[in-house]
């Protein structure tokens, strides 16, 4: 660092100007990309994850554009069916949940029975339940209305997503090489950094989101099998929260099971509790290590903070952006520390600090 200051004419005016210009343009690019941040990040993520299958497809059909188009159609077919199913049922289930919440006799009766031993009276319980119900019902309806009102933006974001997925698959390799060239680090450090970032991204995408999907589907199936209302809705909720560490399906399914027990439904209650335990156990002990390995995983705290912080800062898309962003802090710090150490050793060993910049 300090050598640069001692020889001011070396590069500063050129570099400073171009760096400033590049920074300005990058900030403007971010401003332009901000409305579609979620779609962009998702498209880049999927083109990264699908890179290897895409390259094998290219070897098969020879044409990169054709291969990207085929991948796009396959992806849409694989995703649209389930998404359409979930969205239609989600809206219906949300309606059921709202109705259930509006007619609080059942919840209230169960709660009153549960709280009676603590000396809380039934009327107090009723007040509490009524308040909570108003809140939840309002929130749910607000979310549904918001979803419908932003239909145009949603469609545009979808368009952006599929476009960028196509180009990300077709030209992603070129963009990656260009990005690689832009990183001003020595080759080993650069390789190390990019490998770490790639590993972390894969770990989060597979480890957190795929695992969440599995947990949500399993949880929703259990919900349906034991005859609880609105299985798709609660499966969706489990998926969203499954990204968080420490077995969240349990925290959503167990209360349902306990309510069933309190209502006297022994089969459904115990079945639900056992099933929740099985899901959490199987996923945490078998699926997660199998998918991402023990070592390359991102610390659960990072995912927790990233998910919640991302949701607050970037909205719905932040639930992905947050953990991805935070997971890169570690690799960057690690490579930085390594490089500093290497530089110090170099300074200590030889008296030629100007040898490196020439390359």
């Amino acid at each position: 660092m300090h050598e640069g200051d001692e020889t001011p004419g070396h590069a500063p005016p050129n570099t400073l100007f171009l760096s400033g210009l590049a920074l300005l343009l990058l900030v403007l690019t971010f401003v332009l990309a901000r409305p579609f941040l979620g779609a962009i990040v998702l498209a880049l993520l999927f083109s990264f994850l699908l890179h290897r299958p895409f390259e094998s497809l290219v070897r098969l059909v020879r044409l990169r554009s054709l291969a990207a188009g085929i991948m796009l159609i396959l992806f849409a077919a694989a995703v649209f069916g389930p998404v359409a199913f979930i969205v239609t049922h989600l809206a219906q289930d949300a309606g059921i949940v709202v109705e259930l919440a509006r007619d609080p006799q059942r919840v209230e009766a169960a709660l009153a029975r549960a709280l009676a031993p603590f000396g809380i009276e039934r009327s107090q319980v009723a007040d509490l339940v009524a308040q909570a119900v108003e809140r939840v019902a309002g929130l749910l309806q607000g979310a549904l209305l918001g979803l419908l009102a932003s239909a145009v933006h949603l469609l545009t974001a979808l368009l952006v997503f599929f476009f960028l997925l196509f180009f990300g698959l077709r030209d992603g390799g070129r963009a990656y090489r260009a990005l690689r060239r832009l990183i001003p680090l020595r080759k080993p450090a650069k390789d190390h950094l990019l490998a770490l970032v790639g590993q972390r991204t894969r770990a989060i995408a597979l480890g957190a989101f795929l695992v969440g999907l599995v947990q949500g589907v399993a949880g929703g199936l259990g919900w349906w099998f034991f005859g609880f209302p609105a299985p798709v809705f609660w499966g969706f909720v489990i998926t969203v929260f499954a990204v968080l560490p420490f077995g969240p399906p349990f925290f959503i399914m167990a209360p349902a099971g306990i309510i069933a027990l309190l209502n006297g439904d022994w089969f459904a209650g115990i079945g639900m509790l056992v099933w929740a335990g099985v899901i959490v156990g199987v996923v945490d002990d078998l699926l997660r290590p199998y998918l991402i390995g023990k070592r390359s995983g991102v610390h659960p705290a990072v995912i927790l903070v990233g998910t919640l912080g991302g949701l607050f800062v970037f909205g719905v898309a932040g639930f992905l952006i947050g953990p991805l962003l935070l997971s890169m802090v570690g690799p960057v710090l690690q490579v930085w520390a390594q490089e500093r150490r290497a530089e110090e050793e170099e300074d200590a060993a030889g008296e030629e600090p100007d040898a490196a910049p020439a390359a």
Binding site: G4, P8, G9, H10, A11, P13, N14, T15, L16, F17, L18, S19, L21, A22, L25, L26, L28, T29, V31, L32, A33, R34, P35, F36, I40, T88, A91, Q92, A94, G95, I96, E99, Q141, L144, L145, L148, A149, T156, L159, V160, F163, L164, F167, G168, D171, R181, L182, P184, L185, R186, K187, A356, P357, A359
Partner: protein, 348 residues
């Protein structure tokens, strides 16, 4: 130039401090100037770009009429006649069409019933569904009107922008060369690098305007003619929408024409609908492949993904004219980054 650079190499510590101070002052002034310019940014940017694109015709014209000022005035008048006046007329047409579309939506009974039944199908109570539909219609109508119908203050700002555009265009034409040279001198870059960077940016801008916007304009016009000839409603508004869509790679006006054709077929206008779909897919779809090589040759400029992001992001961030400003900004990033990469210190 060369002396200045030579001197820069031997800056003393005092001079370094002074140059840093000047740099900070310059940055502050630039921010201030941007704030003052902000209301006229559209006019100013368009004047710069159009003036840049018209440099070659301007020089030829100046050679013929033997007077730079006269040539500039002629070109400005021509631009106003060919571009600005039709644009103003089109803007009014769009506003009229948008209002009629909003009224049509409010009056369309079939849409109302099907939307409400769709919502109740999702388990939403009929009364709530009714309210949601009304809100949505009001929202669409308001958005359609607000996006194009100039309110009084917007009208003033549009007039000011047009005035700034005309004024600046004249000066950019006359002083363009001097301006370019001044910008070049002000850039603290070696002459060879500077020329390379400016050349790259100029190429991108030219490719963007000719290869993307002019092609989109031609395509949008062809689509609009078909729309109007087949008797579809609100041709100016939909023509405008289709022209903007034509900027987006691979989508184009077809994405409006096919659904509109299907809608017409459902409503019983079989030939009208089929005609629009065939026209959209065959004539408009292939006009892209015919027009583009004719205008720009095979030179590819900006990556289509950047054009897409710039168009949509620009529309949202900068408003109506953003569909030009967005791609313009994004088209510069690659040349600048490439130049930065070749120059920055440290191991490559």
């Amino acid at each position: 130039m060369a002396e200045a650079l030579g001197r820069a190499v031997e800056l003393t510590a005092d001079e370094t401090r002074a140059s840093r101070f000047l740099l900070v002052a310059l940055a502050l002034l630039a921010v201030g100037a941007l704030f003052i310019l902000k209301p006229f940014l559209t006019g100013a940017v368009f004047a710069l770009v159009v003036g840049f694109l018209l440099q070659r015709p301007y020089r030829k014209l100046a050679g013929w009429v033997r007077s730079r000022a006269l040539a500039a005035i002629l070109l400005v008048l021509l631009t106003v006649l060919v571009v600005v006046a039709p644009l103003v007329g089109i803007a009014y047409g769009i506003a009229d069409d948008a209002v009629s579309i909003a009224q049509n939506i409010e009056g369309a009974g079939g849409l109302h019933e099907s939307a409400v039944s769709l919502l109740t199908g999702f388990g939403i109570e009929p009364a709530a569904a009714e309210g949601m539909y009304k809100d949505a219609v009001a929202g669409i109508g308001n958005a359609a009107q607000a996006s194009v119908l100039p309110t009084l203050s917007k009208l003033g700002s549009a007039a000011a922008n047009i005035g700034i555009f005309i004024f600046l265009l004249f000066f950019v034409l006359v002083e363009g060369e001097a301006l370019g040279a001044y910008v070049g001198r002000a850039m603290p870059l070696e002459p060879s690098r500077r020329d390379h960077l400016l050349q790259q940016v100029a190429n991108r801008v030219r490719a963007l305007f000719l290869g993307t916007f002019l092609v989109a304009l031609v395509q949008g016009t062809i689509a609009t003619i078909g729309w109007w000839a087949l008797g579809f409603p609100a041709p100016i508004f939909w023509g405008f929408v289709m022209t903007i869509l034509a900027v987006i790679p691979a989508i184009g006006p077809v994405i409006v024409m096919v659904p509109a054709g299907i809608f017409a077929i459902i409503q019983g206008d079989l030939w009208q609908g089929v005609g629009l779909i065939v026209y959209g897919v065959v004539v408009v779809g292939f006009s892209d492949n015919l027009v583009r090589p004719f205008i720009v040759g095979r030179s590819s400029g900006v990556h289509p993904a950047l054009v897409l992001l710039g168009t949509l992001g620009g529309l949202i961030v900068f408003g109506t004219t953003g569909f030009v400003l967005g791609p313009l900004v994004l088209s510069m990033i690659e040349p600048v980054l490439t130049e930065w990469e070749s120059i920055r210190p440290g191991p490559g």
